[in-house]
């Protein structure tokens, strides 16, 4: 009997606790409600609808008939798909070769600076505030073929004949990556610089006392300290470049002859050039899956860095 009363009392107390927790969390829920609503309607709902519609044939944006994996098959069997995937990987590769080490090297150099550090911080960050499309158009003029192109003008000054730049299918991707690196490396540089300044100076002193030179201090103090951050940035860069769309769109239109076509641009063309929304959605889902895996890795690394 006593046990039953005790159990009842426990249950009552538990309910009271639960209801007080719920009551206490209501304002919290209400505060996040607007953001939650925005996420649901602007991010999650379109993603869910996009995934669903990728299994349908569409009339405009209206699903007409369930077609299973047909849209995915159409995308994957497109004769240009492999080439486009290779191009996209080439974008990522060039970005890792040029765009990934450059901000780190600059950050290390800037960290060692005694004078004019503020000036260099501002000037290297400035390109970040220029929109990607504007950057692409500026660089398009730099790379323009013929004697009117800025780069060719410089070459002409040194007595070199004008060359083909974006029209050269072998270097179009590389040139686009150089422009994106110019546009984005300032932001990454600032992050690196922040992390570098967080390295305990005593560790440098200790290394110096142990006889470590400049490179020794980088290898034994700086790199171990920055490893997590570097991994994080690498993953972020891979995800960002994998989606590259507006830069090839503005600079080459994917040409010459598809040499700079990326998966993102193909997706854009499916939707806005040909009105093949089914294929666009299917390709979107494929890219989404690839990037979801990378994002998973990103979060795992992020957790590791924060720990």
């Amino acid at each position: 009997m006593a046990k039953t009363a005790q159990a009842k009392q426990y249950k009552l107390k538990k309910n009271r606790n639960l209801s007080s927790v719920v009551k206490r969390s209501i304002p919290g829920w209400l505060i996040i409600l607007p953001s939650l609503a925005l996420f649901v309607f602007i991010v999650w709902r379109p993603i869910a609808i996009g995934i669903r519609y990728s299994f349908f044939s569409l009339r405009g944006f209206e699903p007409v008939e369930f077609v299973g994996l047909k849209n995915f098959k159409d995308v994957l069997t497109d004769t240009n798909f492999i080439q486009t995937l290779q191009n996209t990987l080439q974008y990522v590769l060039w970005s890792m070769i040029i765009g990934f080490p450059l901000p780190f090297v600059c950050a290390v150099m800037m960290n060692e600076m005694v004078h004019m550090k503020g000036y260099f911080k501002i000037t290297t960050y400035l390109p970040v505030v220029v929109p990607a499309i504007a950057t692409s158009l500026i660089w398009k003029m730099v790379y323009m073929d013929g004697p009117g192109g800025l780069l060719n003008m410089v070459l002409y000054y040194f007595g070199v004949e004008p060359m083909q730049w974006l029209s050269n299918k072998n270097i179009a991707i590389l040139l686009i990556i150089i422009s994106t690196t110019w546009n984005g490396f300032g932001g990454t540089l600032i992050l690196y610089l922040g992390a570098l300044q967080g390295v305990n100076q005593e560790l440098y002193e200790a290394a110096r006392l142990d006889g470590a030179g400049f490179f020794g201090r980088i290898c034994h103090v700086m790199i171990p300290h920055m490893r997590g951050m570097l991994l994080l940035m690498a993953i972020r860069q891979i995800i960002g470049i994998f989606n590259i769309t507006e830069q090839p769109l503005a600079m080459t239109g994917g040409g010459p002859s598809g040499a700079s076509m990326s998966l993102g641009l193909t997706n854009y063309f499916y939707a806005f050039k040909y009105g093949q929304y089914e294929k666009s959605l299917a390709l979107g889902v494929i890219v989404f899956c690839i990037l979801a895996i990378l994002t998973y890795v990103y979060f795992k690394l992020d957790k590791r860095v924060n720990e």
């Binding site: 405009g60 069997t77 004769t79 013929g146 029209s167 600079m251 002859s257 050039k273």
Partner: protein, 462 residues
């Protein structure tokens, strides 16, 4: 905490209200009035045209007090059209292009106007050749042609004179064949150092232009087999020869601009700023309006001839109606068209409004032609009246357009029947391949293009 709750609830309500307010479109009757929206309304940058249209609107609503017009500056754009149509945000009446017609009808984004066309007597009044272009396979009508043109060869007279391409009587030497065109283009480059010919190479525009060359070289791009399936048929010597012609323009005659990635806007800019002497284009005042080229500096010729004939692609605009428009709304749009002189009726008011329109075009640096290449209406009296008004305001020398209007041996062709945008894209790639690489093998390029077009596009159409 209470304050926080109030703020949060308030924000949520505002957001939901704003979200819901953005959904759907109010069309139809309001206060017993028929409300319609008219697309392609001039925006604030077109001061003169906007004023003319606003005055017309005021007069129209006085004449028809039961109709209310909502101006809509939306202009057809492939990037936004489907979104607008799916969200039921299309203007009641909008203008699209011949190239887009099949896609729009297939997607159900245009109203069937066959019955109202019959009731207004428009079906019999419109040039049957143009009317056929706006019908679906079942013969139902989905639009009213507003204008039609054939592609031509635009010539920059000043640059031709600079290159010495003038006859003994001082007139401009017009290339009659593709080989003459290449020769003249090369001469312009040699004499002036500027491009003799500009052709766009990207955004599907290259393929769109290449079609005309290819047809004249005897190319057939596709055919429908007895089983209904489409087959790409351009892996031929003729197509290779047509592509070789483009390649020669670049490498043999050195006649193309240095830049190889050229969209239509860039092509217009080069031609309109005396950087290129020739381009494929129907009569356009883009050069004078946007780039300050003198209208008198433009000579429009018919397309050059190839071994298999002189081909020119037809294009033009079509007025179409939102699929959810009521018959009353479409009727109101027809009344508006009559009022501005674009409908079947062509009374005194229409004449005045047409004149006002020409005055506005001239004040904005545009071009008024002395006649239409292909009259939309078959009523000879009306066509004569329209020509009379156009002749009053024209700012071109008819001699400069004499060659263009001579359609005697020009074979006019509409779009290819299916997947034309995809075909243009594939052909863009072919053009880019041969003008960026001197060693490109035209035969190989055409073979791959034909295969890609079949596998990636036509196989999906069947």
């Amino acid at each position: 905490m209470k304050f926080q709750k109030v703020i949060t609830t308030g924000l949520t309500v505002v957001m939901l209200t704003a979200g819901l307010a953005g959904c759907g479109k109010k069309q139809g009757t309001a206060d017993g009035k028929i409300t319609i929206s008219i697309g392609d309304w001039p925006d604030e940058t077109q001061t003169e045209t906007l004023e003319t249209y606003n005055n017309l609107l005021e007069e129209f609503e006085k004449k028809y007090p039961n109709i209310k017009i909502t101006p809509d500056t939306y202009r057809y754009d492939t990037k936004t059209f489907t979104m607008k149509a799916s969200a039921k945000q299309l203007p009641t009446m909008y203008i699209a292009y011949f190239t887009e017609l099949n896609k729009i009808i297939k997607a159900g984004h245009a109203a069937d106007i066959t019955d109202i066309m019959d009731s207004y007597g428009m079906t019999e009044a419109i040039n049957p050749k143009l009317l056929d272009l706006v019908k679906d396979d079942g013969g139902r009508i989905y639009g009213i042609p507003t204008s039609a043109y054939a592609k031509g060869l635009a010539i920059n007279k000043e640059m031709f004179r600079e290159a010495g391409l003038v006859n003994e009587d001082g007139s401009i030497m017009i290339p009659d064949t593709y080989s003459e065109m290449a020769e003249y283009a090369g001469k312009v480059k040699e004499k002036t150092g500027k491009a003799g010919f500009v052709m766009c190479t990207t955004d599907n525009c290259g393929g769109w232009n290449f079609l005309n060359i290819a047809w004249s070289f005897g190319v057939e791009f596709m055919k429908q087999n007895s089983d209904g399936k489409w087959e790409a048929t351009f892996d031929t010597e003729n197509a290779v020869a047509a592509l070789q012609f483009v390649k020669d323009l670049k490498w043999k005659y050195n006649a193309l601009p240095d830049n190889s990635v050229i969209d239509q806007q860039e092509s217009h800019k080069l031609f309109g700023t005396n950087q290129a002497a020739m381009t494929f284009e129907g009569p356009s005042d883009d050069y004078s309006r946007k780039y300050g080229m003198e209208v008198s500096n433009l000579l429009e010729a018919r397309m050059p001839a190839g071994e298999y004939g002189r081909y020119a692609q037809m294009g033009g605009g079509i007025r179409m109606f939102a699929p959810d428009s009521t018959p009353e709304q479409i009727d109101a749009c027809f009344k508006w068209l009559d009022f501005i002189g674009a409908g079947k009726e062509f009374d005194e008011v229409s004449v005045t409004n047409k004149e006002k329109n020409y005055q506005t075009i001239l004040s904005e640096g545009g071009m008024v032609l002395d006649r239409e290449a292909f009259p939309v209406w078959i009523n000879e009296e009306r066509v004569a009246k329209e020509r009379e008004i156009a002749a009053k305001y024209t700012n071109i020398d008819p001699k400069d357009f004499e060659s263009y209007y001579n359609f005697e041996d020009v074979i006019l062709k509409p779009e290819e029947p299916v997947a034309c945008q995809q075909l243009y894209s594939v052909l863009d790639g072919c053009i880019q391949a041969v003008i960026t690489d001197e060693k490109a093998d035209c035969k190989e390029v055409i073979k791959n293009a034909c295969h890609d077009f079949q596998v990636n596009h036509l196989d999906k159409e069947s």
